[in-house]
């Protein structure tokens, strides 16, 4: 499926309406993040499970990163940031008891 950049995507810091990790209504159960690489591409994927009794619709996706800076004093500062953001050209419906795999490829080869 095609992905569409949202206008003013550079200024985004979070998804518009993140789907929570869980089994409650409207929630998806997030699996472990998988990371691999091949050549100059890094693949980040996650499997989500719909453990609710209703279809859940996914319309946006983002890659959130965390940078931890540790100072010589031992103190740490944690910064969360949105590394990538896309909206789907067509929504992805995950049926009840179904699952979906989302993969984002970071390509540095242009």
């Amino acid at each position: 499926m095609a992905l569409v950049l949202r206008p003013s995507v550079l200024s985004l810091t979070s998804l518009a309406a993140p789907i929570l990790n869980g089994t409650g209504a409207g929630e998806l159960s997030y699996g472990t993040l998988s990371v691999s690489y091949a050549g100059a591409m890094i693949f980040v994927s996650v499997t989500v499970y719909n453990l609710t009794s209703s279809t859940i619709t996914v319309t946006e996706i983002g890659l959130q990163g965390t940078v931890i800076i540790q100072y010589s004093s031992g103190n740490k500062s944690t910064y969360n940031f949105l590394l990538s953001y896309d909206t789907f050209s067509t929504a992805v419906s995950v049926p009840a008891s179904g699952m979906a795999v989302f993969q984002i490829t970071l390509s540095f080869t242009g």
């Binding site: 499926m1 992905l3 003013s8 550079l10 990371v35 990538s84 699952m99 540095f108 080869t109 242009g110």
Partner: protein, 233 residues
């Protein structure tokens, strides 16, 4: 998990509309701009080309922590001297992580230079040094390396954003010097969170390009090389 008959292979077959059909723009782009000046400062050549070539060292250092957690493994980076070091970051104490770039005296992580050379390599990804680096100096075949410069901020224009790394080289060799390859070299130091221990990886080639056409720098002239990295170009 139950999978219905006929779609057993959905994990292996990429949907047709997921392929690049030539209508999508890459969200990341890197390119080289090279400006050559003669001994009077007049621009005699402008060269532009796409840059495609992060090295394995770059990918290794950019991998998210989750990669190392999942595989319980490390990667090996190789510096320009050919020495290798294991890189196994983690979030707990006892692991070495990349030191924050600064100019402190403890040889931390920083941009060393854009390096130029007169050779070439067929597989830029696996390169850990230039094939034939041009030495810094005013002897025959040498160039005087200026200080590398990074744009003071990330420039934003609409949805696009970019920054540049640039460096100027002067030719005081007495003859024309020809450049055929270019790379970015960084110094990387690992610090351990539970101690003051450090491991210096040395100078790492993180980006490498063979020029699509060679660049001749006349005697008394100069060349400025710009690497531009942009998102949503």
């Amino acid at each position: 998990m139950m999978v219905s008959k006929g779609i057993e292979n959905t994990d292996f077959v990429m949907p047709k509309d997921a392929y690049d059909i030539g209508k999508d723009m890459p969200t990341f782009n890197a390119y080289l701009t090279i400006i050559v000046r003669d001994s009077e400062g007049k621009i005699v050549k402008v060269h532009r080309q796409r840059s495609h070539s992060p090295t394995f060292n770059f990918i290794s250092l950019f991998l998210p922590l989750q990669y190392f957690i999942n595989c319980n493994c490390g990667v090996s980076v190789e510096n320009t001297g050919g020495s290798t070091n294991g890189f196994i970051p983690c979030a707990s104490s006892g692991c070495g992580n990349i030191s924050y770039p600064n100019t402190a005296t403890n040889a931390p992580t920083y941009l060393v230079m854009i390096q130029v050379g007169s050779g070439s390599q067929s597989n830029p990804y696996s390169a850990y040094k230039l094939a034939s680096p041009i030495a810094n100096g005013s002897g025959s075949g040498q160039l005087v390396y200026g200080t590398p410069s990074v744009s003071p901020s990330i420039y934003v224009s609409g949805n696009s954003a970019y920054f540049t790394i640039s460096q100027t080289f002067n030719n005081s060799s007495g003859g024309t010097v020809t450049i055929t390859e270019v790379g970015i070299i960084t110094q990387v130091q690992i610090t351990y969170s539970n101690s003051t221990n450090t491991v210096n990886f040395g100078q790492l080639l993180v980006w490498y390009d063979v020029l699509s056409s060679s660049i001749s720098v006349p005697n008394g002239g100069s060349v400025t090389i710009y690497y531009t990295f942009t998102v949503n170009p």
